[in-house]
Amino acid sequence: MSLISAPFFIFMLCLLGAYYNAGEKHQWKVLLIGSAFFYYCSNPIYIIFIIISIVSTWYLMRNPVKSHFIWTIVINLGLLIIFKYSVNFGVHDLIAPLGISFYTFMTLGYAHDCYDKKIEPSDNIWHYALFISYFPQLTQGPIGTYQEMHEQLIKYHPFDLQRIKTGGYRIIIGVFKKLVIAGRVGFYIDTVYSSPKGYSGLTLITATLFYLVEMYADFSGYMDIVCGVSDMLGIRLKENFNRPYFSKSIPEYWRRWHISLNEWFNTHLFMPSVTTKWNKKVANILSKVFPKAKKGTLRLIVPTIIVWIVTGVWHGAKSSYLGWGIYFAFIMLVSFCTQGYVKKFNARIHWNPENKFVMAFQIVRTLIFLSFGEIIYRSEKFSDTVTIFKNIFTDTRINGAEIAAAMTPFGNGNQAAASIIIIAVLVVAQFIVELAKEKDERAFTGHRYVYAFLMLVTIALFGVAGKSNFMYQAF
């Protein structure tokens, strides 16, 4: 069931009706039934796999001893690997169950926290089932933690019109980002990236910058929709984005983009790797090779490489994803290892980090390094990556005909130019709206009605119908 579809709209109306009419004791049950129905409608047979995961994990982690923890990892990771990767090796041609990556992350996070005694294991399998299957976050995250979610999910939420309004407004923002912004720029990127060979540097740079816009609009648009849906039910989901393209370094960017996934990796893979005995030994060996380096920095090296390779491969069994992971591991390590020197250097040249020009320089620098990574990620194959980099740095033609040809999905001539201007205006408008939202999160003031109306009109006029699949759904 797509989130931008008539069936989902009807589903939400029925769910909200039942949810707010259910008594105090039964409200969470409505949510569980609704979530099961949502999953069943989206992916009927595969509901069996999420049930296997829920029942086995809940049962094993009731007594969170080491052997049970290991079994939980084997079962859940096993299912994930079977569905995600075996298809690449021609073992079967099954599609992966809906949201398997995301509910596996939540399940493993829960099991790890139980094992580490950070949380009390759930004593009610139905409560636990709701935590894992809660439909807004099931398909693409955000990856909620048990601590943040379980009380909210089972607590009674009386009807509140304000919440319905703010939630609805956020849904409109999300649909707008997805159908108008991501949908439109998507055409251009697909055209250029499907055969990048003949394109000049300028066209490839434009396509790559558009890709940054598409990724943010698609993914954060999706998050706006699910957070809006959840807001309507009185349940706050974790925010997954914090204006990531304004980051001043790549490590900062990864703290502001897909926050819940990066926090998950940090808590459940990175920190445990940093603190293992073998990593300490590796750092001791490395300190003999680099006697001046801080031991703490040396302890970051292997865990950083592990986390980034896993993150890359998590996106799929494709060489470009692996290349992307290695690229960011390298950038992160360079950033960690040079941090001390950069600080000293900046102090020596009286480079004030609070200065606006310095900040702008850092933001642009981050975007350039980020774009390089995304070129690797978006390329269909490695030879395309090489071509794109080569053309960007060597082919400095400004070829009007070529740009026009790539723009045909926007329309012809003036129509294309007009579409692009509209997109640019909308992106700026979107940014202004987000700033306003930050200042005044819950209030629903008059200007929002006007803006909501304008967005709805724009969606009707410029929205790309039939492009309602979200990028991250594939993971």
Binding site: P251, V274, T275, K277, K295, Q339
Partner: protein, 74 residues
């Protein structure tokens, strides 16, 4: 305690460790700083701080860090 403050100041010389009580919750220390700190504490006090102990409550103040070290030493 004084020794610990000195170690902390080696990690970050721009933070008032004696008086700051929200080193993690106030986002004063980054995860990079925490790893530097863990590494130094491991070596200086001959302990091994497990990942499960890396929670805000154990790192929010010099006192909390001191208590953690003592607990792991004992």
């Amino acid at each position: 305690m004084e020794e610990l403050i000195k170690i902390l100041e080696d990690v970050r010389d721009d933070v008032d460790f004696a008086n700051t009580k929200d080193l993690i919750d106030g986002k004063v220390l980054t995860s990079f700083d925490i790893i530097q700190l863990i590494s130094t504490l491991d070596d200086e006090y001959d302990i091994s701080i497990p990942a499960a102990e890396i929670v805000p409550a154990n790192f929010n103040s010099a006192e909390a860090i001191y208590a953690l070290v003592q607990r792991l030493q004992g």
